[in-house]
Symmetry: C2
Subunit: 346 residues, 2 copies
């Protein structure tokens, strides 16, 4: 398999290197051959080429079986009014790859429950799979700016809602058969289209239960009864907010992976954490989110379920017994955690 | 003073009656005269007149010194695709009154910390005042719908951002002198205008510290370090989501009041909870949010600070010692809680 890596900025290169080492170990153990090709994205790409997603990077990603991304952005490129910004590279990549379904699983490892801001009894049975629409909505709508006015257009078509909803229901079938669709249908026109479309798609899945929640209620329910949810499907911006809220429950952002999938082969895998400039280059970043992203890559892009489970079991083992990086209360560095995961794979 | 009440739907009438009783007690105690005039809004207004905000209600609200609202909506009127919906009445009222600044204070009463989903050490020193922009953004932008496409326009002008930001800074001056402005400036054009404008307004308040957060990070920070924030200012939809998330921290939605203010006299006061149809008409709704909304009314619309503090102290006393309604772990009804508050005022 041909895998493009986009280490990006901040801790991106450190955690991506750890992820590649894990994939190498999997390849050796199961006798696969993974070919890696590294490219630029984000701030480092702006510095090198003037563009956050140079054509060479994009072409390579389009041709790859999967793309593994680190993180983009940092203080050096943080002016939101700059004409060229690191995040544009990420957004352009998501759009160009057509990866409309962003899967963000949330589980709380029992050994880390103490780190969660939530009371531990709330954390029992928390196992949520967020499916965030990733290539539509206000992120990609028309933008207008004059001296005294700004406009963002949030637009959704029925086809856009259908495909991500169908993916959510398919995933729910493999899980606890429950989909919660989140919108703001009492206020937004796009949410009314969203809700009507989800209701229609749901009829194709009579074995899966569907529930609707308003986004404001959902922000509350994620805290008061997080154990109740199975698959949560929502539009781009709501998904951005709710998945970060949910991530806080896990105790550290350094733990959570994501997969972004479209219709075509390929897929984009990234930790949900950012570039963490405050700890970049120190060898202390938690590699777990990037490593778990490789498990999602093995499963969703390469169809290697056993290999994916092996990686997840190795990570669970290390979370259980240590070593732990600082963000989860330990003092280990990236390399010690990586080495422990590699040892658990072998 | 002339106060219009809009009890609305569900538990609205019950909690509004309790709030009026408290205002009557304040009037008697301090020798004021409050005149009340009741009008229709929401589902009950649709049933009676076909409109969620009949002209008589709107005219009365415009002429009033303050408006006290219960809640709108319920299962009977919950089809988001119905041409006339209860929420439209509330949105039209906010727009017509020009109440662009929605104040939502969050404090966690120590006696109720056990009810919060958050670990108690996280709740120390939580005292946040959210200032949510209430009359702009996607709530009031142009909406388009065809068979296969829906569009919501999110629009902000510099003037709209300036006035709510100024209000937030003024409020911060009376508090801990710290403003956190929340946007999504790495993606949205409206957020870039928001951030630039907030930065400029901040120069009028050199004694107040300003910090920016992205909305996704803020959804996380509210859980990991809620005690760090003083005044949080944000646009309409982000404010809707973040204030509901924050409300979950208080342990029950039944506790939190809100005030919506514009430039003119008058102001709109409402509990942040909804119409709670599941418990409506049973006499068990928590009246605390509505009662605390009267304290905000006394303070912000009538300039009666001492009276406001008296109501707040009476409520704090009852939260400390009981009786408590079911939502906060007790078994008392609305009336017992009201009676206890009235007794504490006298
Ligand atoms: C970096 C940013 C543009 C991005 C987003 O908002 O989608 C990030 O927050 C995420 O959630 O992946
Ligand atoms: C009822 C609804 C329209 C309203 C809103 O979204 O503003 C409510 O959720 C609120 O926060 O006051």
């Amino acid at each position: 398999a041909h895998i493009v890596t986009l280490p990006g900025d901040g801790v991106g290169p450190e955690v991506t290197a750890a992820a590649v080492a894990v994939l190498d170990a999997v390849a050796a153990h199961y006798d696969h051959h993974f070919h890696f090709e590294e490219h630029l994205i984000g701030g480092c790409a702006i510095d090198a080429t003037g563009e956050p997603l140079p054509p060479a990077s994009l072409d390579a990603c389009k041709a790859a079986d999967a793309v593994l991304l680190g993180a983009v952005g940092g203080p050096k490129w943080s002016d939101p009014n700059a004409p060229v910004r690191p995040e544009q590279g990420l957004l352009a990549l998501r759009a160009a790859l057509g990866v409309y379904a962003n899967l963000r699983p949330l589980q709380v490892h029992p050994a880390l429950a103490e780190l969660s801001p939530l009371k531990n009894d709330k954390l029992k049975n928390v196992d949520v799979l967020f499916v965030r629409e990733l290539t539509g909505g206000a992120y990609f709508g028309a933008k207008t700016r004059t001296i005294d006015t700004a406009i963002d257009e949030c637009k959704y078509t029925v086809a856009e809602v259908e495909r991500v909803t169908r993916r959510a229901f398919q995933l729910a079938r493999e899980r606890r058969k429950h989909v919660t669709s989140v919108d703001k249908a009492n206020v937004l026109e796009t949410s009314r289209l969203w809700r009507t479309t989800v209701q229609r798609v749901a009829q194709e899945f009579p074995d899966v239960k569907l529930e609707h929640q308003l986004v404001d209620s959902m922000a509350m329910l994620l805290l008061t009864q997080p154990g109740k949810y199975d698959v949560v499907v929502t539009e781009n911006l709501f998904g951005d907010i709710l998945t970060d809220e949910a991530a806080a429950l896990a105790g550290s952002l350094g733990l959570l992976p994501s997969a972004s999938l479209g219709e075509a082969k390929g897929g984009l895998y990234e930790p949900i954490h950012g570039s963490a400039p405050d700890i970049a280059g120190q060898g202390v970043a938690n590699p777990v989110a990037a490593i778990l992203s490789t498990a999602m890559l093995l499963r969703h892009s390469l169809g290697l379920e056993e290999e994916a489970s092996t990686v997840e079991a190795a990570v669970a083992d290390v979370l259980e017994r240590g070593p732990h990086t600082r963000d989860i209360g330990g003092s280990a560095g990236t390399k010690e955690v990586l080495d422990a995961v590699l040892a658990a794979i072998d």
